[in-house]
Amino acid sequence: MMLILAAMLLWAFGWWLNLRLAEGSYAHTRAIQVTVPLIFGLTILVVWELLVRGLQVPLVILPPPTMIAGRFASSTSILWADFVQTFVKGALSGYVMGCCAAFVMAIAVDRSTFLRMGLLPVGNFVAALPIVGTAPILVMWFGFDWQSKAAVVVVMVFFPMLVNTVAGLRETTAMQRDLMETYAASYWQSFFKLRLPAAMPFIFNGLKISTTLALIGAIVAEFFGSPTVGMGFRISTSVGQLALDMVWAEIVVAALAGTLFYGAVAMIEKVVTFWHPSQRG
């Protein structure tokens, strides 16, 4: 009972603190803008801990954060192996292959009006489909190991990347293209000097969307069969053993991997497209 009361008090305190900070005169500073969501997140974690202990929630329903952290710390070697299997071998290799293939395809599509008119609607259509459903087929074709996961990732990232790159390469204005025409620039000259740089914000948009898709594809594909290592494998077997602390530890890994992957791509974007209005601010 005490713990529940403490949780409620803490929640009220956290909210009050954030309210003071958000309404205060330093609200626009970077430090406060980072602090406020951190306080919010921390409050939730502590309230979660207190509630789970206070209400004596069974561990098979929701383990407290400290237990998850403990599990995380004590099984770093398993988690690392899973991370390498799923993220590095499956997601990352598929991501690189899929994005490169889509990029090359986009250039081909861009050179032919007919191809663009035909392929773009099809690409848009496919990009909205539940492509992750191809996982059982690809697992059947490429086996249980990481190759099939990479294949699922390739298929998943290909179309969003293709659509974004083609849209980006169309992004130049008629005036900019006319200017290139007056210089009698060749196709590749205007490609490298005008259209590729102009397409960069779109390309990075595709790259960013694809980071999350890659991780989703690699994890879900493991639900259809995998060697005895991997994040998706660990999640589904741990769920079966009701070892929910392990599941949560694995989810923490997935969250960290996803955020860092996205963050890395976003950082490169900031450097490459420093000139774009969305990055100047």
């Binding site: 005036m175 200017l179 007056t182 210089y183 000097k193 740089p197 000139w275 100047r280």
Partner: protein, 263 residues
């Protein structure tokens, strides 16, 4: 190809026709346009929208294909002239690449045309001086005002040795004070470089102030209604706009525009 009489004729159009096919039927953008422009002239094209002034400029630059008549630039077809990099084109918007500094924007045509690195540097410095932008080479376009951006885009068109400068309402988006200033600078620039300039505008004072020859055009179909050779001297301070000669020419332009309208 038409025979051109004197060596000093730069652009010669004879009975030029251009029809666009649209969903609402054909549009006569240019009909029976004949015009000769000599070397070193400053020619303004003026008229209401749809009169074909921009289209004519684009034909000279081989950005549009005429459907009839003949057009020669430096004794070549417009497309050959384009391949010979015979002209610099300045659009209504500066159209600088935001990912390049001003200096690298000016280098862009030089890179495409294969100038050496040292020559690129030299030319950039020259034209930056020409348009009064020394010291701004390292800035990005979005760090400059609209007038400065347009000056940079003129510098870009001047950077390579094109002897024709085609300008499509280059100052249309700028306010009048900046515009006056740029007009003055443009005249000085023209005097120094002796280029042939084709200049599209819809401002009567601008056309009269700048030009040695004013081409008045009218729409539906796009055609030339009057060609006025300006009696104004080559040396033109801004207050020339208050002289009777200036007002006289402006009046004739206005008459021409009105005549084209009432038909």
């Amino acid at each position: 190809m038409t025979e051109h009489p004197g060596a000093d004729v730069v652009i010669e159009a004879q009975n030029l026709d251009l029809t666009f096919e649209t969903n609402d039927g054909p549009v006569h953008a240019l009909k029976d346009v004949s015009l000769t422009i000599d070397k070193g002239e400053f020619v303004s094209f003026i008229g209401p929208s749809g009169c074909g002034k921009t289209t004519f400029l684009r034909c000279i630059a081989a950005l549009e294909q005429p459907t009839g008549g003949s057009l020669s630039v430096n004794g070549m077809t417009p497309d050959e002239a384009r391949r010979n990099r015979a002209y610099g084109y300045v659009f209504q918007a500066a159209g600088l690449y935001p990912w390049r500094t001003i200096a690298r924007n000016i280098k862009l045509p030089l890179e495409i045309m294969g100038y050496s690195r040292s020559e690129q540097e030299e030319r950039v410095n020259n034209v930056l001086q020409l348009v009064d932008l020394e010291g701004f080479g390292g800035k990005y376009p979005w760090q400059l005002s609209g007038g400065m951006q347009q000056r940079a885009s003129i510098a870009r068109a001047l950077a390579f040795d094109a002897d024709i400068l085609l300008m499509d309402e280059p100052f249309g988006a700028l306010d009048e004070i900046v515009r006056d200033h740029l007009n003055e600078q443009l005249l000085a620039l023209w005097a120094r470089t002796e280029k042939t300039i084709g200049f599209v505008t819809h401002s009567i004072p601008e056309a009269v102030y700048l030009s040695t020859k004013i081409v008045v055009m009218s729409p539906r179909p796009g055609r030339i209604t009057d060609v006025i050779d300006s009696p104004l001297p080559k040396e033109r301070p801004l207050d020339i706009r208050d002289t009777p000669e200036f007002i006289e020419v402006a009046h004739r332009v206005r008459e021409g525009l009105r005549a084209g309208h009432s038909e």
